[in-house]
């Protein structure tokens, strides 16, 4: 199963192992495809669609689509950029993302992708939904206002922690992260579980951490998200 295939992304030759997804092969070749719901070493979810690329002209989620020999992938086109920007803008308006007091700010992937895209203001009307905070757990809290329904906690809890605690209930705009018993405090979740780390935003947060890293030293303060991948693939 280690047969190597080759395809192209924006004209660049990308080697891939058979069965590998496009995003993974791209990552290993130093090409950053923007994403929110994808985590390395986790089964892909295909939830956010930020990683949408054109495969032989057709839109596909790069996180779920397996690479195939000879396919022509487009990653940086104006149209894709517009789609991705719109998805991110919609994620901002459909929740309550108050970056100014969020402990995750500066280390938040949603924010970082928006920075990378140069979004100064979402072009859609803010929905201001009324959502709850679940602080029933002694060490971890869920702030539904910030949840982007990426399923990363759900997949990580199930696959890595062996605790099927999280799921998403309801449909469409009413979709919401839910926990097995009614409240987080009734679950077996531990603050040290990988699921807590998996949250890209400030929805699943450890309590009593606060603003641990000063402004200027946070993950995305100086360089756009994805810079590390691009640097690894294009050493100076």
């Amino acid at each position: 199963m280690s047969e190597t295939i080759t395809f192209t992304i924006d004209g660049k030759k990308i080697p891939a192992k058979k069965g590998q997804t496009i995003i993974r092969a791209a990552e290993e070749a130093g090409v950053y495809i923007p994403r929110l719901c994808w985590l390395k070493d986790l089964i892909p979810g295909g939830a956010c669609r930020v990683c949408t690329v054109l495969v032989n002209g057709r839109p596909q989620a790069a996180c779920t689509q397996p690479a195939a020999g000879g396919i022509v992938v487009q990653n940086e086109t104006e149209e894709l950029f517009r789609w991705r920007k719109n998805i991110v803008a919609m994620l901002f308006v459909e929740g309550n993302h108050y970056c100014m007091f969020c402990e995750k700010s500066g280390n938040c992937e949603l924010q970082a992708v928006a920075y990378r895209f140069g979004i100064t203001a979402p072009k859609y009307p803010h929905q201001f939904p009324q959502r709850a905070v679940d602080a029933s757990h002694p060490d971890v809290l869920i702030d539904h206002n910030r949840c982007i329904l990426c399923w990363r906690c759900a997949r990580t809890a199930r696959v890595k922690d062996g605790k099927p605690i999280f799921g998403v209930v309801n449909r469409g705009i009413d979709s919401q992260l839910a926990v097995g018993p009614e409240q987080l405090g009734e679950t077996e979740l531990k603050a040290t579980d990988k699921a807590v780390e998996a949250c890209p935003v400030g929805a699943l947060m450890k309590k009593r951490v606060g603003y641990a890293v000063p402004v200027g030293k946070r993950l995305y303060d100086h360089e756009p998200i994805g810079s590390d991948i691009e640097k690894a693939g294009n050493p100076a």
């Binding site: 309550n96 993302h97 970056c99 924010q111 100064t120 803010h126 201001f128 402004v215």
Partner: protein, 181 residues
């Protein structure tokens, strides 16, 4: 040629963005070489004395007065810039947006744990601007030409944007200056 004019206002904001304008430090001397301030809390001019090149808007609209001022700015300025997260998305004041107005007023003036209000009245003086059903981002009330996010936007971002606008260049913020916090 007369210097272009700038107007600024703080609507439903905390004046933090105006503080960030002052945070351009000694460049403020360069700024007054480039522009004259018209209606603004900086010089305490209350009414527009002339048409302005740029209007800086801090804060969203939480009451009738904010809407009136914002429309006045749109009428009297060539370019309007939303400065800061409150103007852009409502900010902290918008935290009330998911809660019915009646409940907000009751919590603030009647039911809140620290409320002392023996008259049991919710302020309702005609002098007070009428509070809106929710807080509106500035661009949901009038057309806004540019957005400078941040809480507050870094002084350097405000400086870069102003200089670009006043010299007819596109606003290009370097990556570290685009922040939402």
């Amino acid at each position: 040629m007369a210097k272009p004019k700038i107007a600024t206002t703080s609507l439903a904001g905390c004046f933090g963005c105006h503080m960030s304008v002052l945070d351009i430090d000694d460049r403020i001397l360069q700024l007054v070489e480039l522009v004259d301030f018209d209606k603004s809390p900086v010089d305490d001019i209350k009414k527009f004395s002339a048409h302005c090149a740029v209007g800086l808007i801090e804060g969203g609209c939480c009451n009738q007065e904010n809407v009136k001022v914002l429309r006045d700015f749109r009428k009297n300025c060539d370019v309007l810039v939303s400065v800061g997260d409150c103007a852009i998305m409502g900010g902290i004041p918008a935290m009330r947006n998911g809660i019915p107005l009646q409940e907000c007023l009751q919590e603030a003036y009647l039911k809140g744990p620290t409320v002392h209000n023996p008259s049991g009245q919710i302020p309702n003086d005609p002098e007070l601007p009428l509070i809106l059903d929710r807080v509106y981002p500035a661009h949901e009330v009038v057309k806004i030409d540019y957005h400078l996010p941040g809480c507050p936007p870094p002084a350097d971002a405000i400086w870069e944007a102003l200089v670009a606008l006043l010299t007819d260049k596109p606003i290009k913020l370097p990556y570290p200056l685009l922040k939402y916090d």
